[in-house]
């Protein structure tokens, strides 16, 4: 079973994403800010990451950039309320595999993660 890391500063969102993802995947860790996300990525080497953008310390785009620089094979899906066109393009250019805008449906999240492993 593939493993995932959830990165979001909001406890309710981490809880909801965990409930959705654990129907098919194993969530190995949750991070509440950008720096914690980088540490946990290095520690757990998860198969995929769901990554918020608006967070304390490092924002999601900075985290994405650092993870992809060190691990070009990383599978990162952005899950953010800030779905401006320019932001979406920037995330995809930095290496995000998908961009899910909050609020989201469970099926949208599962479809995005399933696609990573097709």
């Amino acid at each position: 079973m593939q493993t995932g890391l959830i990165v979001d500063d909001a406890a309710v969102m981490r809880m909801r994403l965990r409930d959705i993802l654990e129907t098919r995947y194993k969530v190995v860790a949750e991070a509440t800010n950008g720096q914690e996300a980088l540490n946990m990525y290095e520690h757990y080497k998860p198969d995929f990451v769901t990554l918020d953008i608006t967070m304390p310390q490092l924002n999601g785009l900075e985290v994405l950039s650092q993870i992809v620089s060190a691990h070009p094979e990383a599978l990162v899906v952005i899950v953010s309320a800030v779905g401006q066109k320019k932001m979406v393009f920037e995330a995809i250019n930095l290496g995000a595999k998908d961009f899910i805008i909050k609020p989201f449906e469970s099926a949208r999240v599962l479809k995005a993660i399933d696609r990573l492993f097709e």
Partner: protein, 156 residues
Amino acid sequence: MKAEYANIFVNSAYSVFRQEIGAKLSRQSLTRKNAPVPSLPVSIVLGITGAVRGQVVYSMDTAFATSVAKAMVPNKLPHELKSLVNSAVSEIANMITGQASISLAGENQLIHLTPPAVFSGRDMTVDFLAIPTICLGLICEFGRLEINIALTEDGA
């Protein structure tokens, strides 16, 4: 401040409440003031920078905030729910502002949001920006939601 900002936030709030909470908001009032100072005891403050900048301050009473948390994370015990209330209202504010930012940014501009900060009680001390503010009053089955929009365009 552009009056059209009010409609952008109204539409975002309607959409987020419908999708995330299953509640129907209605517009109750629209007033102007000199700063986004909230009038209800629970407040969520978001800063905005980029093509548009300023503050958006959401405000509600405690019962409203608890109802939002109950709707977002149902089936939680009361003590579990209590610890999630601030997170739930922060995330709702983040989603409404985030969705509004899509319209505000348009095709080519970028707007950044600060993480939401929650303040409770009447003793809070927050530095609110002295920017002309539109105060939107919205209402649903949980009570009243106030959105104070204090935004100015870059260079304005």
